[in-house]
C-alpha cells in the first residue's frame, strides 16, 4: 500500500486518504463521461460504502453532478441542442421538488430513518431503471445485429394532448401542456435532494418516450436542467442541513472532471447499445449491493448520532 495522505473532512468528520478520494472522483468521472451521465448515482453510494454519513454523501453527490454536467451542457449548447424554454419549465418544477426533498431529509434525520429511506429509494430507482435499461439495450443489441435501427415513434396522439396550459416549445417542435415537464421536474428535483443525483435517468426517457422530444435535443436540455437543479439542491442542502462537505466535493470534482474527459474519448469508440448495456449492469450491481446492506444483519446493531440526528 502506498502513502496515505490523510485529509480531515470537516463536515463528514472523518479522515480519508486524499489520493483515494481523487481516484474515486476520477473513476466515476470516467464512467460519467463514458456513458454521458451525471454520475451522482455512482458517487453517492460509493461515498456511503466508504463510511461517509449518508446525508453528506447525498449532498456532496449533488455537488459532483453540477461539475460533471458542465462539459456536456456546454458542448450541447454550442451545437444548439438545448431547448431553453423546456429546460426552464422543468427546472422550475425541479426547484420545488428539491426544496421538498431537502426538508424531507431534515425530517428523516430527526426520526433516525434517513439512511433507510435513502437506501430504499436507491434500491428501488436503480433496480427499476437498471432493469429497464438492460432490457432495452439488450433488445437494441439484438436488433442492431439484425441490421435494423430503432427510433422511438414521434407521431401519434397521446393522452398528454388533453392537458391544459399548452405551450409552444420551438426547439423541440412541440405544442404541449406545460404540466408534464413541470411534473417531471418536480420528481427529478425530489430525487436530486434525496439521492444526490442529477436525474438524467428519469428526464431522458421521460422526454423521449412521454413527451416525444426529438432525441437530438433531449440530452442537452436534460443537462441544462440538471446543472440548475443539482446546483440548487447543493445550496439548499448546505443551507438547511449543513451536509455539503466542500473539501470532499472539491477533491471529487478535480478527479471527476479530468476522468470525464477521458471517459468521453473512450466512449466515442463504443456502440451506444453496448454502452447502455454496460451501464445497466453497473446500475444493477450498485442496487444489489445497497439491497444487501439493508437485508444482511449488520455487525453492530447500535449506532450513535448527534442528539436528534
Amino acid at each position: 500500500m502506498g502513502s496515505f495522505i490523510p485529509i480531515y473532512l470537516p463536515i463528514a468528520q472523518i479522515s480519508v486518504d486524499l489520493l483515494l478520494i481523487v481516484a474515486i472522483g476520477a473513476a466515476v468521472g470516467f464512467l460519467s463521461g463514458l456513458f454521458g451521465v451525471g454520475g451522482g448515482f455512482l458517487i453517492t453510494p460509493l461515498l456511503i460504502f466508504l463510511g461517509i454519513p449518508t446525508t453528506v454523501a447525498v449532498a456532496t453527490g449533488a455537488n459532483q453532478v453540477v461539475a460533471s454536467s458542465v462539459s456536456g451542457a456546454l458542448a450541447q449548447w454550442r451545437r444548439g441542442n438545448v431547448d431553453f424554454k423546456l429546460g426552464i419549465v422543468m427546472l422550475v418544477g425541479g426547484f420545488l421538488g428539491s426544496t421538498i426533498g431537502v426538508f424531507v431529509v431534515a425530517w428523516l434525520k430527526k426520526k433516525g430513518q434517513v439512511d433507510l429511506f435513502i437506501s430504499l429509494t436507491y434500491v428501488m430507482m436503480l433496480g427499476i431503471i437498471g432493469s429497464l435499461m438492460l432490457v432495452e439495450s439488450l433488445n437494441a443489441i439484438r436488433k442492431s445485429r439484425g441490421g435494423a435501427t430503432s427510433a422511438p415513434k414521434r407521431k401519434g396522439h397521446s393522452w398528454l394532448d388533453g392537458l391544459p396550459f399548452k405551450q409552444r416549445f420551438q426547439r423541440s417542435k412541440l405544442y404541449v401542456s406545460a404540466i408534464p415537464p413541470v411534473a417531471i421536474g418536480v420528481f427529478v428535483g425530489f430525487l436530486s435532494a434525496i439521492m444526490g443525483v442529477g436525474g438524467g435517468f428519469v428526464i431522458v426517457p421521460a422526454l423521449i418516450y412521454l413527451m416525444r422530444v426529438p432525441t437530438s435535443v433531449v440530452i442537452g436540455t436534460s443537462l441544462f436542467q440538471t446543472i440548475f437543479v443539482a446546483g440548487y439542491t447543493t445550496v439548499m442542502q448546505a443551507w438547511q442541513n449543513q451536509s455539503v462537505d466542500a473539501v470532499l466535493a472539491i477533491l471529487l470534482v478535480i478527479g471527476g472532471v479530468v476522468g470525464a474527459q477521458f471517459g468521453v474519448r473512450v466512449g466515442q469508440n463504443l456502440k451506444g447499445e453496448q454502452l447502455r448495456a454496460l451501464l445497466a449492469a453497473l446500475v444493477l450491481a450498485v442496487a444489489i449491493r445497497l439491497a444487501f446492506g439493508l437485508i444482511l444483519k449488520p455487525s453492530e446493531l447500535y449506532s450513535l448520532t448527534p442528539l436528534g440526528g
Partner: protein, 245 residues
C-alpha cells in the same frame, strides 16, 4: 514500621506534567501523542522493584449529547427501531494505568471517580428498564471503542526507578476538538492518596480547517453557493483545458 511512625511520615503526593496542553488541529491532522509523566513525592517505596503505588490517568474529551439507536429486523430489513438520548457522554475517553483498573481500587472508589468504562456515568434522559439502559450504555462504549475514541490500557503506565512513572496515549485523527480534561490519580493499597493532578488540554481547530468549518455553519447559504460555484468553475476549466478536439 509502627503506626505512630507511619503517621509522622510526610504525605505522599503526585507531581506530574503532560507533554502538551495545546494541540492545533489542521486539515492534515493525523492524531497526536500525549505523554504523561511524573513522580510520587515522599515515596515510601523502599526497594527498587516492588512499587506499592498505582497510577491511573484519565483523559476525557468534551461532553456531548448523542442519540443511540438500535436496529431490529423488520420484515427482512434491518431498521432503526429503538433510540435513547444521552446528555453527558464523553466524546473521548482514555484510561491508562499500570494494572487493570479493577485491581487497583475497590468498586465504590472507582465509581465515585468515574474511573474506567464500567464506571462512567452515562445517564439517559428517559429510563426504560435497567437492562435496556445497560445494553445501550455498553453499546456506547463498544461503538466509541471501535471508532478509536474510547481506550482502556491497563499497561499504559510504567514505573521507572523508585518513584518516576510515565505513559503515553495517542489521540486519533477523528478525535473531537475542544477542551479535554486530564486527571492523574495516585493509589496505594486500593486507597486514593492525596489530590489528583488535574490539567486541561486544548484542541483547537486551526487555519483552513477552521475557516471552512465555521463558514459552513455560520454562513451556510454562501458556503453552498461557493461549493456550487467551484463545481461550475472546475467543469468549465476542464472543458477549456481539454478542448483540443
Amino acid at each position: 514500621m509502627p503506626a505512630a511512625q507511619i503517621a509522622q511520615l510526610p504525605p505522599e503526593a503526585i507531581e506530574a506534567d503532560i507533554s502538551t496542553r495545546d494541540v492545533p488541529v489542521g486539515g492534515n491532522f493525523a492524531g497526536t501523542r500525549i505523554v504523561v509523566f511524573g513522580a510520587v513525592q515522599n515515596s515510601r517505596q523502599t526497594t527498587d522493584d516492588e512499587s506499592p503505588y498505582d497510577v491511573a490517568v484519565v483523559i476525557a474529551g468534551p461532553a456531548q449529547q448523542l442519540t443511540a439507536r438500535l436496529k431490529a429486523d423488520v420484515a427482512g430489513l434491518w431498521i432503526n427501531t429503538g433510540a435513547l438520548n444521552f446528555n453527558n457522554v464523553p466524546s473521548y475517553y482514555s484510561v491508562l494505568a499500570n494494572r487493570p483498573i479493577k485491581d487497583i481500587a475497590p468498586k465504590p472508589i472507582l465509581a465515585q471517580l468515574a474511573l474506567g468504562f464500567d464506571n462512567l456515568s452515562l445517564a439517559p434522559d428517559t429510563s426504560p428498564d435497567a437492562r435496556e439502559t445497560g445494553d445501550y450504555r455498553k453499546a456506547i462504549v463498544r461503538v466509541k471503542t471501535q471508532q478509536g475514541l474510547y481506550r482502556e490500557d491497563p499497561q499504559g503506565i510504567a514505573f521507572i526507578g523508585r518513584s518516576l512513572f510515565r505513559g503515553s496515549v495517542d489521540l486519533p485523527a477523528n478525535v473531537p476538538v475542544g477542551e479535554f480534561n486530564a486527571w492523574i490519580y495516585l493509589f496505594r493499597n486500593g486507597e486514593l492518596i492525596g489530590e489528583p493532578y488535574k490539567t486541561v488540554i486544548d484542541l483547537r481547530r486551526e487555519g483552513f480547517e477552521r475557516a471552512i468549518y465555521e463558514f459552513a455553519f455560520v454562513y451556510p447559504f454562501w458556503y453552498g453557493v461557493l461549493s456550487v460555484g467551484l463545481a461550475l468553475l472546475s467543469g468549465f476549466i476542464a472543458t477549456l483545458i481539454f478542448r483540443r478536439n
